[in-house]
Assembly symmetry: C2
Homo-oligomer: 87 residues x 2
């Protein structure tokens, strides 16, 4: 095999490896997109049942926080609201 | 059943329904987080093999676009680069 031929074979192998990595990422991104759609469907279902979706999103965010962090965040929010006359 | 008792039962059922909806969302969000971690792992693996992860991210983004849209975006980018003396 010529040097050029050898390099070409190595390049082709590297190209193939890159292609496989990219395709793995694309498949995972697609599955992620599917889950995002599923989540949207649950919010739609909740909305159809009479629940407020934006409030549910806030609840999901609040439940993700450690209780201490959440309480601190809420206290800071209250302080800022008071400072700005938002009651 | 008293009126209050009736309402309480209905409220408890609504609360339970809300809890189930929130928990479904949380499970889906967790699966999504798992996929995000898997994607990060593929990029790490690619990086360890010698590939440049930021360039791979750009390739994934470019491959997601319609070829016409991609070419137009690239043409506009070239125009702006020329206008700003970026060669």
């Amino acid at each position: 095999m010529t040097r050029l031929g050898h390099n070409s074979a190595r390049n082709a192998q590297a190209d193939e490896q890159l292609r496989l990595l990219i395709e793995r990422i694309e498949r995972l991104e697609e599955e992620k997109k599917g889950l995002s759609d599923d989540i949207k469907d649950v919010y739609s279902e909740a909305k159809a049942t009479g629940y407020d979706a934006p409030t549910m999103r806030r609840i999901v965010r609040l439940r993700k926080m450690k209780p201490d962090d959440r309480r601190e965040m809420e206290a800071v929010l209250e302080t800022y609201k008071t400072a700005l006359g938002i009651d």
